[in-house]
């Protein structure tokens, strides 16, 4: 055990399963001070987290709380907390104490109505419907079914159509997204989206040729397939200088006259031939003679090389 890690060993880690989730939540709530806000419960591991659209309930949607303290309430979603898989709803809040440095704009008191995060399992998607007679009906979807995608201009993205599962004639459209107010420094939307240049024909390139160098770097060293002078010099390692002994040896070799090969004289040829004949005449075994005959036919590349060099020497002289 090291003293630096003893804290992590004894601390409660609910993900490891040493303590139940509800118990952990209760202890966290008990131990947190009032201004620290309500505990957000267990964290969802990152790979299990979903976006609002994947969940099917987005900010601005009507929802029905079917469980817990606030059961029966119908409210709209303010915010979705991905980490704890819970929603903050309008008018479902708790009075908490908040220190002054954490006050929002326009706050006058330490007491603040702060929305309670309500887990996604306690919530069901709801929708308003008006009759011809003007009577308002609420529809609560137990489950949601997604169908074919369409491009939503309000969200600027492709969204699936939302239906009540098993009652797929009832479509619940996505709510109006929160419209952002333009700042004084904002570029106006039509100007930002304006296309100053449009392709007219395929005969012409889509943009002027001079523009190409701004898109891509023609001098990028990744594109060069050949060594530059500097690159080649850098990659070549220097040579180890010759030692004194090596220098002396090389000088001696250089001072020696070059070896010149000359053809055999007639006398030498006769001598070699006579010696060979002497040995071969002694042999009685026909098998050995046959073997020698076979061996004599094989070509020795080195021998041919020497013959060639002799010929070259003769022609040069």
């Amino acid at each position: 055990m090291s003293w630096t890690h003893h804290i992590s060993r004894f601390a409660v880690n609910p993900i490891k399963g040493k303590i139940s989730a509800t118990k952990y939540e209760a202890t966290m709530k008990r131990m947190s001070l009032p201004f620290q806000g309500p505990s957000e419960g267990l964290k969802v591991p990152p790979h299990e987290r979903r976006t609002q659209i994947e969940k099917g309930i987005v900010t601005g949607d009507l929802v029905y709380i079917n469980e817990g303290e606030h059961k029966g309430k119908v409210s709209s979603v303010i915010r979705y907390l991905e980490e704890s898989d819970s929603y903050m709803l309008n008018n479902v809040s708790e009075k908490t104490l908040i220190p002054k440095h954490m006050w929002g704009p326009g706050a006058t008191s330490h007491v603040f109505d702060y929305p309670i995060p309500i887990p996604a399992s306690h919530i069901k998607l709801a929708a308003k419907d008006k009759d011809d007679s003007g009577k308002i009906n609420y529809v609560v979807a137990d489950k949601i079914a997604f169908k074919e995608k369409y491009y939503d201009d309000r969200y600027h993205q492709w969204l699936p159509r939302r239906f009540v599962k098993f009652h797929e004639s009832i479509e619940i459209p996505w709510p109006e997204p929160n419209s952002l107010k333009d700042d004084q420094y904002c570029t106006i939307e039509p100007i930002a989206l304006e296309k100053s240049y449009e392709l007219q024909t395929i005969a012409k390139p889509p943009f002027p040729k001079e523009l190409l160098s701004e898109f891509r770097n023609p001098y990028s060293h990744h594109k060069k397939r050949v060594f530059t002078e500097v690159q080649a010099r850098r990659i070549n390692a220097p040579n180890m200088p010759l030692s004194m002994e090596q220098k002396i040896y090389l000088a001696k070799q250089a001072s020696k006259p070059k070896k010149v090969l000359e053809p055999l004289t007639e006398e030498m040829k006769e001598l070699i031939g006579s010696k060979m004949a002497e040995h071969i005449n002694k042999i009685d075994n026909p098998a050995l003679l046959g073997h020698l005959e076979h061996v004599s036919k094989t070509k020795v590349p080195d021998f041919e090389k020497t013959l060639k060099s002799i010929e070259e020497n003769q022609t040069s002289n």
Binding site: F227, Q231, R234
Partner: protein, 287 residues
């Protein structure tokens, strides 16, 4: 010879003049013959694992050549020649003079159940300050005790590094190889002529003894190159184009501009004069 040597001497070299029995004479002759047989081809004295050595790329690349696949471009210049026998394991041997000693392994064996566990044997490495005669400074190196013994036997670090035998080159290691290069380069420089006034940096093919270094010559060259071009040339661009050249190439470039080398080279007449003056001074000092 010390006192103990004197005392021990006679007994050590004492040989029975006459064998007292036949058996003794036979054993003596046998031992002699066996020793003669063992004097055959000598096995290598060093032992180093070269199984994991990777072959080095010896090709000399030139500008305009296609870059082969798998060749990495270097960000900086290579300062030392490549070492052929660099092992890929037990890399601490690259940072000291280990003399080819590497980690060995064997097994620990328990006495009761003969259970075996792997263990390692490390070479005996010490940090030592070794004096280099040519570099004129002491180097703090990690050295194996075996190499320390060899260095004393060779008579110094430099002679240990400069030996040409293949066994020495294989066991030098990367650090030893680099030190060898440094020592050899310094020796080359020390051979160049030197007086109290100047040190010759480079001798050209035609015998010009140049007193200044490459960068001073480049400063001179910059003026010529700038004058030569129609457009102004920034010093940065000049550096990019010329700083990788060797001193020999710089001198050749200056020759192509027909530069008068007199302020930069050693004038043979003045050289004689300086030597004479120095000799005079020496004589006066002695007197």
């Amino acid at each position: 010879m010390n006192v103990f040597g004197m005392m021990l001497g006679p007994s050590r070299y004492m040989v029975p003049r006459m064998a007292s029995s036949n058996i003794l004479s036979i054993t003596a002759s046998r031992s002699l013959s066996s020793s003669l047989v063992n004097q055959g081809p000598r096995s290598d004295k060093y032992w180093k694992l070269l199984k994991y050595v990777k072959p080095i790329d010896k090709t000399v690349y030139s500008a305009g050549e296609a870059i082969p696949k798998g060749v990495r471009l270097a960000k900086t210049k290579k300062m030392y020649p490549d070492y052929e026998y660099e092992p890929t394991f037990f890399k601490r041997q690259n940072r000291g003079l280990f003399g080819g000693l590497q980690r060995k392994r064997s097994k620990n064996c328990s006495t009761k159940g003969f259970n075996k566990t792997l263990r390692e044997h490390l070479p005996n490495i010490q940090r030592a300050k070794l004096w280099s005669e040519t570099l004129n400074k002491s180097l703090s190196l990690k050295v194996s005790t075996k190499v320390l013994k060899t260095i004393t036997k060779e008579g110094g670090l430099d002679s240990y590094l400069l030996k040409d035998k293949p066994a020495r080159i294989k066991t030098l290691g990367v650090l030893g190889w680099k030190l060898r290069y440094d020592v050899m380069k310094r020796q080359e420089k020390n051979q160049l002529p030197k007086t109290s006034n100047y040190q010759v940096q480079y001798i050209h093919k035609d015998g010009k003894q140049i007193k200044v270094g490459k960068y001073k010559l480049l400063d001179i060259l910059y003026d010529y190159v700038r004058r030569d071009s129609y457009y102004p040339i920034k010093i940065v661009d000049f550096k990019k184009a010329h700083y990788h050249l060797t001193i020999e190439e710089v001198v050749e470039k200056l020759e192509s501009y027909s530069y008068d080398f007199t302020p930069v080279i050693v004038n043979p007449r003045t050289q004689q004069g300086v030597e004479a003056n120095e000799a005079k001074d020496a004589r006066e000092l002695q007197a």
